[in-house]
Symmetry: C2
Subunit: 466 residues, 2 copies
């Protein structure tokens, strides 16, 4: 079957990728233009649409009972809303000059071309899968897709051993460590960085390290994995580093992801230094009038450093989809960029960051002061006042806020939003000291920890005011 433009009287929008960015774009476009004006064809190579990959660790850990709870909208629901969705259909080529895409039905193997007036690329990211001996052995799992999550759960159900090794200690790594602790496993985390959570500065990562050890997790930092030795049955039996072997009944890879831009690259579309698609502020692929891209396959402008970053995160993907949908639907919207906010937790420890770490600031050519304060998430006398540590970076001389990192107990993590808004507004730390933040003893000390950090940052900027 082939659909060509000549046979059509109305516009056709083609969407590649059925998760957050792609289906948000399709849905928003559909809201703005009905089926009489706009045909929408969306391709998804997997079985599922519009699901929360971020929720997989909580499903594996048992906090979320059913896979389907992670699905915001099923293929049937999308179709009922007038989106021509084809699941298990993989796009294999983008012909940008001919304004068409080639797709393959994964069940039948049949291929066809579909022409488009407007194209949305939302191909997401693919997990980094190191070329290690044993990486494909049974018992080794990624956690990128719902199918991955189900496969891991099946392995856990079938495995009698209770030793789990997580490779990588970024967001996915620490969340999977929590999930496996919750499942009753003995958990070892093997991590190539000096400290876990390399999205924090090492001094803050060290707090996470100590807290994870306090939860009974064995932390192996600064360690390069050299292989995944298998047993006589072919299953993984350990994670090997240069120095040691860590016995494993199951191995979870949480090493991170890269933009899935194979198709885009083959089509000659512009990629950035992180291999993500480059777009303008309306999420239109640079230099291509009728192609948009969003979600985990694009690079985003970091408003603090002024350079592009790759930040695979559902909240950005949803925003991109909205912006793209508005623009392809005849409206107008832009995505101005990010400040790099992220929040996570491992059991009761909350971890958050926004803006630049020390090394990001240096890379951006910025000179700065860095301060760290210890406070509590509630008034010190109030029950559940957990310790929280706030690190704050401010630009030298100007005192402009550059970044905040938080590690602490309940209520600590979402405080990062205060700094995220302040960064967006370009506030100085001096301006921040006057912020009118919510205060009551169950919610905050009388000086919110963010204000305490801002005051210390002001003093540091003043002390080195030359």
């Amino acid at each position: 079957m082939s659909m060509s433009r000549t046979s059509r009287t109305k516009e056709r929008l083609v969407v590649i990728g059925g998760d957050a960015a792609g289906m948000s774009a399709a849905s928003q476009a559909r809201r703005l233009k009905g089926p009489a004006e706009l045909e929408i064809v969306a391709f998804e190579r997997g079985h599922f649409t519009s699901y929360s990959a971020c929720g997989i660790p909580y499903w594996v850990g048992g906090d979320v009972a059913e896979r389907d709870q992670l699905i915001a909208r099923t293929p049937e629901e999308h179709r009922a809303r007038g989106i021509g969705l084809r699941i298990r259909t993989e796009v294999t080529e983008i012909d940008a000059e001919g304004a068409r895409v080639r797709s393959r039905d994964l069940a039948s193997g049949a291929e066809s071309w579909t022409s488009y007036d407007k194209l949305v690329i939302a191909t997401g990211a693919r997990p980094v899968r190191p070329e290690l001996p044993g990486v494909d052995a049974p018992g080794v799992h990624g956690v990128q897709t719902l199918d991955d999550g189900q496969a891991l759960l099946d392995t856990l159900a079938a495995t009698r051993g209770r030793r789990a090794v997580v490779v990588g200690a970024g967001y996915i790594g620490v969340e999977m460590a929590e999930a496996l602790i919750n499942r009753g496993y003995e958990v070892t985390v093997v991590n190539r960085s000096k400290e876990p959570m390399a999205t924090l500065d090492p001094d803050m990562g060290r707090l996470v390290h100590k807290a994870m050890e306090g939860l009974g997790i064995t932390m192996v930092n600064d360690a390069e994995v050299t292989g995944l030795p298998t047993g006589d049955d072919g299953r993984v039996r350990a994670v090997a580093t240069e120095d040691a072997e860590y016995p494993a009944d199951v191995v979870v890879l949480g090493i991170g992801v890269r933009p899935e831009t194979t198709l885009a690259q083959a089509a000659g579309l512009p990629l950035g230094e992180h291999h993500g698609l480059l777009t303008d502020l309306a999420m239109r692929v640079r230099g291509h009038e009728n192609i948009w891209a969003g979600g985990d396959c694009v690079e985003v402008l970091d408003l603090v450093s002024g350079s592009e970053r790759h930040i695979p995160l559902g909240t950005h993907a949803n925003k991109h989809g909205q912006v793209i949908g508005a623009n392809v639907g005849g409206g107008y919207a832009t995505f101005p960029g990010v400040v790099g906010t992220a929040v996570s937790k491992v059991c009761d420890l909350e971890i958050a960051r926004t803006g630049l770490r020390e090394k990001d600031a240096r890379r951006a050519g910025l000179q700065f002061e860095a301060v760290t304060v210890e406070s509590t998430s509630r008034a010190g006398y109030y029950p559940g006042a957990d310790p929280m540590t706030v690190k704050m970076l401010a630009e030298r001389r100007t005192g402009r806020l550059l970044g905040v990192q938080i590690v602490g107990g309940e209520g600590a993590g979402k405080r990062v939003d205060i700094a995220a808004v302040a960064l967006t507004a370009g506030m100085t730390v001096e301006q921040m000291t006057a912020l009118d933040l919510g205060y009551a003893p169950p919610f905050s000390p009388v000086w919110d920890p963010i204000l305490v950090a801002a005051r210390k940052a002001v003093a540091a900027v003043r002390a080195n005011g030359v």
Copy 2:
């Protein structure tokens, strides 16, 4: 005894009031200038200094075990830091022309004059105590000071009956309702407004009303208290309104406070329409070169409406004290104003607001769109995803954020800080839709409820864009 300026070679700072604003000012001034340069004399008519009045409901409710946990710094600690503190000593007159204050030792009754080079007025607020029959009867309590809290606890310990009536349903009223519920009382709240929490719009107050009823609290709204009938023993036995009598073994008055500016008024210092002292941005009393004022006795500039308000809140008082201390100590700092942020809770229900309510906006001459959204504090599939309602006001045409109100479960309240920073920065609701807020399933839906509200507000502003 009398201290006159002629006998001194160094500057003298006199502080009236030993709680947050006064003692923060004294402490900050002391940090900047040692005893050889600056003498500091502080007068406090009570027994305590630097305590958290905001914590009293939690002490009464049993969340905080000991009174002394609410005391951040004792008189002895202040004295050890070089502050000449006189407790149980009431200032009875300010002679602004003569640059001196008259004080009375409450134990001996002895009076004396103390001259000053610089004066800080931090006389706080006094509770509104309506002139009602029975208001001074045993069993009727305010909760303004630590002494009030102790007196209430003594009454609760001595009273066999379990019926408590709280008069007033503002922050103190709802917090005291929670405290008494926690103590096992049958609680009735009698409130003159249409709904509790009149610091919210009535539609949001209604959510608080329903939630409090769900906690077993009897809510009597729109009711004017006419008297506090007493029994044969002289103790309060009920709260009477025009329509009914509510039997009471104990009555707590939570009707609010007014600036305590009797001394300032007698001295001819400038007061505003809320009877609070008027200062410049450095917290200097307007027209008086050597007098500063801060805390609950001053009016503050509302940055959203552009007019003065009286907001008695420990977090402002502490900031005022810091600013005053910097300025009287030879440094420089300002308090630019507030946006009116407040957060509270009643059991598991969190209540927050910032910026303008509908009636505030009208009073300020602003036209606006108001939208309300229902969402959850975490991803919908994550355990503990509690409902939360967000109301947002945006200025007509410009789309500038004017205010946010939140009622919801755990994690809802402190989200108001996002709006507080956005208000301070003068953001539009359209700008807010792109905010890079922390997202992970345990912390937020993929669209934070604040972003959902902002998107709806954008649509409302656009729809009425004329």
